[in-house]
Symmetry: C2
């Protein structure tokens, strides 16, 4: 582990469009840590770079946004998926750290990548991207893969690939939402043992990345009132001086790529803690609506009431896309 593993952002002397004859050269320059692997990250530390070399059949390169496949589960001989990928293994976890921490990820494109974004020869540093979310799905070879959605941090900057090939930047994961909300850092040196950051005594406006957006809707309002704002997992009712507060959690998430419906059978009334746990795969529901932690331990039954039927279809979708056995 070197100090460079804690640096996230553009490297001095390596502006967007810098080229490298080989992966080894990009590695020597500090762009990417590894010669063979796609994700340049370590357990417990965010990833500082990903390489796009068409190593996984499920990768999708759209220039300004990327659907990237996690690592693992491949047969080194045939290069095909022969097992499920694990989010906690290889460097997949490091991309989750990037997402949670809002840290920029360098993108290195190789000549074997998708046209028209791939360079004709060698490798090219194409700028900083941000991981906006991740989910599990069945890959083309029939095994579970983890998908990471990344969007370019500087959409207005000149692109190093052929502009003619640029498709409109309407990604599948609510890019407009994302772009409007986020003012991400373009370079962060982050070392746990480093001194406390000086901070900003007078931030011009609410600063930093958006860690989480909680939305409500008429359906959510109805479900929350029906449960008296009590969490359906733990029964908690936040003790506030005036209006009650709870959150309407969509079991199958709204928006791309999940496209869950805003209907009462897809909404739970949860406290903020259990909402985060549901959204991030810390808990799931089994077919008997028993709440379980991510290790499968029983936490207790979901509180149910008359007039609020929970859809098993959405419950199963949630399990599948968080990588739990369906």
């Amino acid at each position: 582990m070197s100090k460079a593993d804690y640096y996230f952002g553009e490297l001095e002397g390596h502006p967007v469009g810098s080229t490298y004859a080989s992966r080894a050269e990009a590695m020597a320059a500090g762009i990417h840590r590894f010669a063979m692997q796609g994700i340049s990250g370590s357990a417990g530390i965010a990833a500082n770079c990903i390489a796009l070399s068409k190593g996984y059949v499920d990768d999708e390169d759209h220039g300004d946004w990327i659907l990237y496949t996690g690592a693992g589960g491949k047969d080194p001989k045939t290069d095909r998926q022969i097992a499920d990928q694990e989010i906690t293994q290889y460097h997949n976890a490091s991309l989750v750290y990037s997402e949670e921490g809002g840290l920029p990820v360098r993108v290195l494109r190789g000549h074997k990548g998708e046209k028209p974004y791939a360079p004709k020869v060698g490798f090219r540093y194409d700028g900083l991207y941000q991981v906006t979310r991740h989910w599990a799905e069945q890959g083309r070879d029939g095994f579970r893969i983890w998908r990471f959605h990344l969007v370019r941090l500087t959409p207005d900057e000149a692109r190093p690939w052929t502009p003619a090939g640029q498709r409109p930047a309407t990604g599948p994961v609510g890019d407009a939402d994302f772009r409007a909300d986020v003012a991400p850092p373009t370079s962060v040196t982050y070392e746990p043992s480093a001194e406390a950051p000086a901070g900003n005594p007078a931030p011009h406006r609410a600063t930093g990345i958006v860690q989480r957006i909680v939305r409500s809707s008429r359906v959510a309002k109805y479900i929350k009132e029906l449960h008296g704002h009590r969490c359906q997992v733990c029964g908690l009712n936040l003790d506030l001086p005036v209006a009650p507060y709870s959150e309407g959690a969509h079991i199958r998430a709204l928006g791309m790529p999940h496209n869950g419906p805003d209907t009462h059978d897809n909404v739970l009334c949860l406290c903020p803690n259990h909402h985060v746990l549901l959204d991030k795969g810390g808990i799931y529901l089994d077919d008997h609506l028993i709440v379980r932690d991510h290790a499968g331990n029983e936490l207790g039954p979901l509180t149910v009431v008359n007039g609020h039927d929970v859809s098993l279809t959405h419950v199963r979708y949630h399990r599948e896309h968080h990588g739990f056995a369906s």
Copy 2:
């Protein structure tokens, strides 16, 4: 209590700009419930209308946004504040319900209001606004008042007041943020006993109002890691499969009107539940950094660690602006 109390939005036959000779006439039309009071709401139900008639010296009308003063504490003879206002009393609480529920509030301007927004005679319905936040402060008469920030829901719509007088809509409470994030309903019939709303099986994109935005920053990241993502109030560490999750809570809020700094002495590492409680005045810290609920009951000491000093100045600011005795 009539059915109209549960209807939030524009009334049929009463478009923006409709005029009424008197408060009684506006009342008869169903625009506002009361002839004398500013806030048209009930305990436990959101407000459907506010009247702007310069009843409170602290009111500020900026056309597209309004700083509105809560009710109570006035001497009926002198019309001056002679006591603190209470957020749970009069109709103040109903505006908190409007804020939490994301429900639109009709605005009725009277001829005694501020120029150039007030009508020359009588009263005028000026459209729908949304309550974005509320806080306590000392009013001009020296007593605690509650302030509500409202912004116009349809900024592109023709304004019924003299356009020349319109100041730029750069409100003091992060309007740009608010506008970008919110796609609010312009009319909601909400009755607790009504049938379940049909919902939307295929929402075009993430729908509804933004209930809550959690931001992070480099300072927040540092403080969260310093505490190992354990909540400084309850010690909870959310059990997630990969990256830890906690929230950096600013004691004195970022952005207008509070303008808290993004510095480590103004940030706590909290679980989502205690973050909501801190932000919404469900808990506060005393001068010994003991966590107390809003009734003043001791919940236990805040967890403190070396290298993270919490500013008493910000702790006191938080108390004052949530209406707790400083």
